[in-house]
């Protein structure tokens, strides 16, 4: 019940903003129209940029480049000095198109460059665009610039343009909210906070980012064209570094992974200089001072301030109780049962033979234990299977088909899922949303369908959510579905990772020390859960230090030492294996 109320309260700020938008024209003050229009135009750009900065975590600080491109494209086409004259509406769309194309050009370095490096490359583009605008006088008018597109009635008045821009801003709010709430939005956050886990869930970062860069570029280009209309006249010096930072900072002030936060941030940053304006020469000083105060007052951004849910107390004395029937429901039915076969795998790091001619097979329906002292190559073996390392020799097949080496993102589609030694979880998302990440591949709808929340996208969401709830029930975390993951206990995160892995109905499940940090009671339940999963026909490879758990649940055990198989057999055989006992099990 409280969820629906929370949803209602979440709408209140939007309602207030809408109310202000509607009341503003009644004042008849053209200055307010101008500032309102400006905020709306900035928001169109920032809404798109928010997906890149706030969701994907890419530091794109030079977005004024795309803004300027859209601005110039629309103005040049509408003026008809170079090409035949084009109607303003089409010119605006062309600006969006150019923005989309260059959005990808500006954004692609993100796939290779990290944080600051990418930030500076976007700034580089911003410099290039304004300098070209300055130098290419025949087309852009050089320093003298050119007139912006003048829109036809009814958009040719201050309030007409206001309504157009505000309308578009509302549209962009809705469609970015659609993306954010879809599997694409969750995948973006996953690539930001848990990139490796995202890969393991089959999320292809390049593909995802290209869609988002196209969209954000189009938004920036469109905003640029509208900006040219609003300014009536554009020159290269309108596209300042300060403007670029305003876009970026709006998202920062707003907070990550939020739509409302950056929206309020945009409004705030558009208004602040106006509030400070009467101070004339000292206005920018005061503006900067206020910015600093804002950061000091709310270091988590506006979104953190608005997030009341996360401050509520959690039930104490809760227990993780996996539900067997939910597991059967989730994994039941026909599935491919496939065998993992590793033969003669050799992996060298320089001269070090991390895995030295390993043969290993995991049958469907069995739990296969992989044990050995630290540095014996257990986790490395998992990493070879899940495609992070390319072995120098040997073959790796699942169900007889070779698994391509060093392609981690392709594993999920082949039914290979895994957990990690340190849980790779998105702290800012709820438990349910974390599990839903695992279902990204299950979605059918395209990015565009998600943007517009078309029926197929909505069906995807319903289905992924239902599956995720099932997975949570299966591992016994359903009562915590709406709790942010960073508030969960460590043991709960281990089960959460298993739930995420179950989302794809795995044929092979790789578990990397799932019992680390669990209580005795929890280990027992974990053991039962692992066993139950394997009995549904899943091949399970379990890396573990807890000997009890290994001997309890495993059908077969392989013991590694220095990258080689030391022993191999049933738990009973291993328990009495001489070398194992002396080398590893001790006493």
């Amino acid at each position: 019940m409280h969820i629906t109320r929370a949803k209602l309260t979440a709408f209140v700020p939007y309602m207030l903003i809408l109310a202000v938008i509607t009341i503003l024209p009644m004042t008849g003050n053209d200055y307010r129209a101008l500032i309102g229009t400006r905020a709306a135009i900035y928001w169109i750009l920032i809404a798109g940029l928010n997906l890149i900065v706030g969701y994907a975590g890419q530091l794109a600080i030079g977005y004024v480049a795309l803004f300027a491109l859209g601005s110039y494209t629309a103005s040049i086409l509408a003026a008809g000095t170079v090409t035949p004259e084009i109607p303003p509406a089409l010119a605006l769309l062309a600006g969006a198109g150019v923005g989309a194309v260059f959005g990808v050009v500006v954004g692609l370095p993100a796939l290779r460059l990290r944080t600051f490096y990418f930030a500076m490359s976007t700034l580089g583009f911003a410099t290039i665009v304004t300098q070209v605008a300055l130098g290419w006088q025949n087309v852009t008018g050089g320093g003298i610039g050119l007139s912006g597109p003048s829109l036809p009635a009814p958009f040719d008045t201050a309030w007409g343009l206001y309504w157009l821009c505000v309308g578009l801003a509302v549209v962009f709010t809705l469609i970015t909210a659609n993306v954010a709430a879809s599997r694409f939005g969750r995948a973006l956050i996953a690539t930001r906070d848990a990139e490796v886990a995202a890969e393991a869930c089959g999320i292809s970062k390049p593909q995802l980012l290209v869609s988002v860069f196209l969209f954000a570029g189009a938004a920036a280009g469109l905003a640029g064209g509208l900006f040219a209309s609003l300014q009536t006249y554009i020159t290269p010096d309108a596209f300042t570094f300060d403007l670029s930072l305003l876009f970026f900072i709006s998202v920062l002030i707003g907070g990550r992974g939020s739509i409302l936060g950056p929206l309020l941030g945009t409004i705030l940053l558009t208004l602040l200089p106006e509030i400070a304006a009467p101070l004339a020469a000292w206005s920018t000083f005061v503006y900067a001072g206020l910015l600093l105060l804002i950061v000091l007052a709310m270091p988590g951004g506006i979104a953190a301030l608005l997030d009341r849910e996360s401050r509520k107390a959690l039930p104490s004395g809760r227990a993780i109780v996996p539900q067997h029937d939910a597991l059967q429901e989730l994994l039941g039915g026909k599935r491919l049962q496939q065998r993992l076969q590793m033969s003669g795998i050799l992996l060298k790091f320089g001269e070090l033979r991390a895995i030295d001619g390993l043969d290993l097979s995991v049958e469907p329906g069995e739990v296969h234990g992989l044990i050995g002292p630290n540095g014996s190559g257990k986790t490395t073996t998992l990493n070879v299977i899940s495609g992070y390392y390319r072995p120098q020799e040997g073959s790796l097949t699942l169900g007889g088909e070779t698994l391509p080496a060093a392609k981690p993102v392709k594993r999920a589609a082949r039914g290979i899922c895994r957990t990690f030694q340190t849980p790779r979880i998105i702290g800012e998302e709820t438990a349910l949303e974390n599990v839903m990440i695992g279902g990204t591949l299950a979605g059918r709808a395209s990015f565009v369908e998600a943007l517009l929340a078309l029926p197929r996208a909505r069906a995807d969401e319903r289905q992924i959510k239902a599956t995720a709830m099932g997975a949570l029930r299966a591992v016994g975390l359903d009562s915590l579905a709406d709790i942010r993951a960073d508030r969960l206990q460590h043991s709960e995160l281990r089960f959460l990772e298993i739930a995420r892995a179950l989302m794809l109905h795995p044929r092979l499940l790789l578990l990397d020390e799932p019992a680390a940090g669990l209580s005795v009671q929890e280990i027992l339940r974990l053991g039962a859960l692992i066993k139950a999963i394997s009995r549904e026909g899943v091949a399970v490879l379990l890396v573990e230090h807890h000997a009890d758990l290994i001997f309890d649940v495993c059908d077969r055990v392989t013991v590694l030492n220095l990258g080689r198989v030391l022993a191999h057999g049933t738990p009973a055989e291993i328990r009495v294996h001489k070398e194992v006992v002396s080398a590893y099990l001790g006493a």
Partner: protein, 285 residues
């Protein structure tokens, strides 16, 4: 003509390199890329001119006063703009806080100093033509600075403590190192380096309030080229940038020179994402 390009290229390159070191020094202890780096360079010029020309102090006193004020601003940066956001480093809020602080510095300078470039005193009066002190002074300062820093980091206890904090913050704290004080000290040190950059380049760049953003921009490139945290890389990157920029100015003219610089920059970055001298990618899994 070639010599004049080399002389001015190395000179501005040395200033860029010093700003790069300023970035690195602040980054090492805090993981923050501070927008105040360029403003410190600007202040080195403005304060030097103010102390020596406007207030008539002797050169050495003027230099000391400049560096002291810069160091104070460095410390202030740490307190006001860095410490409060360290907790939310992931969100990159430091971009906002250091930028706001940099803007405060710039606006005060614009209003209280001047919005037009002001002269910087001729310090020694040695050399002319391409051997003019305005060209070799930044290069010499850069050399002295890098040698001084190497000495500090390798031979002194506090320098090693810096390195320890830079290497692993948590471990350093666990060892009982005063991590917070070291951070403050590193901000003061960075500010001194930035001030030196502006002071030694003062005759070249003049005492101009708008030098800050410019230096921020071009001072970052050596950091990116040389690899984050690598001072020697920053020096090589800085000098290379200076030479390339001045050659581009000469070859394609003012408008397209910055286009050439940034195209080059982006291409190099894409080819070597960690910088030319940066360490390889970290282990992911």
């Amino acid at each position: 003509m070639l010599y004049s390009i080399i002389a001015s290229g190395l000179a501005v390159g040395a200033v860029y390199a010093l700003i790069g070191i300023t970035y690195n020094t602040m980054f090492a202890t805090s993981r923050v890329m501070s927008f105040t780096a360029g403003q410190l360079g600007m202040l080195g010029g403005v304060l030097g001119s103010m102390f020596i020309l406007r207030l008539g102090l002797p050169m050495v006193v003027g230099l000391l006063a400049t560096l002291i004020v810069c160091a104070l601003i460095g410390v202030l940066t740490e307190f006001v703009a860095v410490r409060p956001v360290l907790k939310s480093l992931e969100q990159h809020l430091y971009v906002l806080s250091t930028l706001a602080f940099a803007l405060l510095i710039q606006q005060v300078t614009a209003i209280e100093w001047s919005t037009e470039p002001q002269p910087f005193p001729r310090l020694f009066g040695i050399g002319e033509g391409i051997w003019d002190e305005k060209y070799w002074l930044p290069v010499a300062t850069c050399a002295v600075t890098i040698i001084g820093l190497e000495y500090l980091y390798r031979r002194t206890l506090i320098g090693r403590a810096f390195l320890a904090v830079a290497e692993d913050n948590f471990a350093a704290r666990a060892l009982g190192l005063p991590e917070r004080n070291l951070r403050v000290a590193s901000y003061a040190l960075a500010a001194v380096v930035g001030g030196l950059a502006g002071f030694s380049g003062g005759e070249l760049l003049l005492a101009f309030f708008a030098n800050g953003p410019q230096l921020n921009f071009y001072g970052f490139i050596p950091v990116a080229l040389g690899g984050l945290g690598n001072n020697r890389g920053a020096v090589i990157g800085g000098l290379a940038l200076g030479l390339f920029q001045q050659s581009a100015n000469f070859a394609v003219g003012g408008i397209f020179a910055s286009v050439a610089v940034f195209v080059m920059f982006i291409i190099i970055l894409l080819a070597a994402p960690q910088g030319l001298f940066g360490s390889g990618t970290a282990r992911r899994v």
